[in-house]
């Protein structure tokens, strides 16, 4: 009998995951089509779109026409484009190097940066949110409210320069560029990259905690005579952190975008910095290839979050 319960339990989760996967396919195709369409289907010469003002010889042009299947009808170009993506082919730069090589070389830096940022979001954002939420309208709560409003309003661009100038140049606390000091060089850019999300995590946690503290089931938990720690950890925090965990999960994909600015300003050799360099160097194929990869990450982590949500909240998976 126990076995049958377990089966239905996992069955429903399995069905849910299958359904989410299925729903992701059109989004995946649609998003890749959007990028494809911008580059290849808008009027004008796709090669020019990728090369910008860079001068190209006739031979190179011919080679590129063939590489991009530009003599095929548009739909076939797209099929081939998706087929290439599926095989991990994100295109080739004008020096003939696959974009995937650049990605693989530089992705670890971006991954480390994102990991540091997530750590800050959890460490600072969640803790600040919990403390603010537990004592709502207290002094700390107001500090969190005001500081998050300010942080949310500071563009990452500005925050990066200000922190670089103050903590790096003036105070000399952190390296201002490069990865020469190992993990330590990731701290300041990680914090900058995390800032906006961190403020949002703090607010989300605060609201969620404050709402859950008033929930009927928390009152029940207290009426059951559970120890205070159990009431707070198991019945308040556990429930409150569901939206926070899902937000942080979805944010991993979003951080990829922020990495372009952060890596550029702090001179970290990740894929974000590559995008910036490639824009400058008129390497359109690299820009499009990396952006495509970032979008795939974004979609992937959103899928992970949906599954995570169902694991954490049983109501979702039985719907």
């Amino acid at each position: 009998m126990r076995v049958s319960c377990v089966l239905t339990e996992e069955g429903s989760l399995g069905r849910y995951i299958a359904r989410r996967l299925l729903l992701t396919v059109p989004v995946l195709l649609g998003a890749s089509f959007l990028i494809f369409a911008m580059v290849y289907a808008l009027p004008g010469d796709p090669i020019r779109a990728l090369a910008g003002d860079r001068p190209l010889s006739a031979a190179v042009m011919a080679q590129l026409r063939e590489d991009f299947n530009l003599d095929d009808p548009l739909w076939l170009q797209y099929v081939k484009y998706v087929g290439d993506l599926f095989q991990g082919d994100f295109g080739t730069d004008f020096r003939g190097r696959p974009v995937l090589d650049t990605i693989l070389l530089r992705l670890p830096v971006t991954a480390k940066l994102a990991a540091v940022a997530i750590a800050f979001e959890i460490l600072i954002g969640v803790i600040a949110g919990v403390l603010a939420g537990i004592r709502r309208n207290g002094f700390f709560d107001n500090v969190v409210l005001v500081s998050t409003t300010v942080i949310v309003s500071i563009p990452i661009l500005v925050l990066a320069f200000i922190s670089q100038y103050v903590f790096g140049l003036q105070l000399g606390l952190f390296p201002i560029a490069g990865t020469t000091e190992g993990l330590y060089s990731y701290l300041l850019p990680g914090l900058v990259l995390a800032s906006g999300s961190l403020a949002y995590v703090a607010r989300l946690t605060r609201t969620s905690i404050a709402e859950n503290m008033r929930a009927d089931y928390v009152r029940t938990a207290r009426a059951k005579g559970l120890p205070n720690k159990t009431v707070i950890v198991r019945h308040t925090l556990r429930n409150s952190l569901i939206p926070v965990v899902t937000f942080i999960g979805a944010d991993i994909g979003t951080l990829m975008g922020g990495a372009i600015v952060t890596e550029t300003i702090f001179n970290l050799p990740g894929i974000g910095r590559s995008v910036f360099d490639s824009v400058r160097a008129q390497e359109g194929a690299v820009v499009v290839g990396i952006v495509t990869l970032m979008v795939l990450f974004f979609i992937f982590f959103n899928l992970v979050v949906d599954v995570l949500y169902a694991v954490l909240d049983p109501r979702i998976r039985y719907d």
Partner: protein, 350 residues
């Protein structure tokens, strides 16, 4: 503000055993930025083993708040208990350290709530939530606790308990969810069970089943049952004694049979006239006019006087018994009956 000490309380359970729970002159207020809400204003009552005491009143009469004060689960602040004693098995809960109070919740006094769906945590299985009682109070292992949970679910007559123990609250029907709540509440054989509107959210047929279950469990365990409700039918069916609350005060108290046949307070009288009764078929329903009082501005004198058809003001009133000026104390009006009305004898027709 006069209230009788509990020793003077004339209402006892049938067998005359000494009370397990006794509430004495309890006040609860809520302080918000704008005003002060006097939710409970000096209530006293006792509950003995095997007794079912119904606390009857409209929403906002203070009945749920007083129950939460007994459980020690009011949010303080904004709530505050400026005065009162709550005696349980020889100890005043209000002066007990928090940790001692907590240990009484569950094995000593437990409580079930109106809306079982929101009162159960959506992310834990029902088995886990019932089992928590044993893990927190009995130190049982997770596995043993789950086993006990299955037994309890059987006991509250949830079909196929062993299969459903890992299900989540949202997978149960309303009636079954309330049974889960009851299983949780009786897990540790409490001496007192407080049921706050346990059947209000349920269909009528399911209501009867749940009330039957509660009565059966009470017979088996001998626990005292405090039934908080606004439903006169439920009171009539299951309760031994009834305390009628209005504006945070008890306005009448007695055995259900007597109070319901011969009310001693105009408010009780009004309540009885406002519901259809099988016996009095064809009679007109007479709703109580006016609105329940605003608890931050309770009327002077008898709080019910603005809505009372029997009120006597000014020259009509007997000396010292002006309904708008003199607050009537809860007093013994006939043997076995207390009422807080200057003209209770008139209401009773004695």
């Amino acid at each position: 503000m006069t209230t009788l000490p509990s020793s003077a309380s004339s209402v006892r359970s049938g067998d005359g055993s000494s009370p397990i729970l006794s509430v004495e002159d309890l006040f609860v207020e809520f302080r918000t930025r704008e005003n002060l809400v006097n939710a409970v204003n000096g209530i006293s009552y006792t509950v003995s083993a095997g007794e079912t005491l119904a606390i009857l009143g409209e929403s906002g009469s203070g009945k749920s708040v007083s129950a939460q004060a007994i459980m020690g689960i009011l949010d303080m602040p904004p709530a505050r208990i400026p005065n009162g004693e709550i005696w349980f098995e020889g100890r005043n809960l209000l002066t007990l350290p928090a940790e001692e109070q907590r240990k009484i919740r569950g094995p000593g006094i437990s409580m079930i709530f109106q809306d079982a769906l929101s009162s159960l945590n959506p992310v834990y299985s029902v088995g886990y939530q019932i089992g928590e009682m044993f893990r927190a109070h009995g130190g049982l292992s997770k596995k043993d606790a789950k086993q006990r949970a299955v037994e309890l679910m059987d006991r509250v007559r949830i079909p196929a308990a062993a299969q459903r123990v890992n299900d989540y609250p949202h997978q149960f029907s309303g009636g079954m969810r309330q049974r889960v709540m009851i299983a949780m509440a009786i897990a540790l054989d409490p001496r007192i069970l407080i049921a706050d509107e346990p059947t209000t959210a349920l269909d009528v047929t399911v209501q009867a089943q749940v009330m039957d279950l509660l009565k059966d469990l009470q017979r088996e365990t001998g626990m005292g049952l405090v039934l908080i409700t606004h439903d006169l039918g439920v009171v009539n069916e299951v309760a031994d004694n009834v305390a009628v609350m209005y504006a945070g005060r008890i306005v009448e108290r007695g055995t259900v049979d007597e109070v319901f046949t011969k009310p001693g307070h105009p408010y009780t009288e009004g309540l009885l006239n406002s519901v259809p009764q099988v016996e009095a078929k064809g009679g007109r329903l007479q709703p109580i006019t006016g609105q329940p009082p605003n608890l931050s501005r309770i009327p002077s004198g008898c709080p019910f006087h603005p809505r009372c058809p029997r009120r006597r003001l000014g020259a009509e009133a007997l000396p010292g018994r002006d309904c708008a000026g003199d607050r009537p104390p809860l007093r013994l009006v006939v043997p076995g009956r207390e009422a807080a009305c200057h003209y209770s004898e008139e209401v009773l027709g004695v």
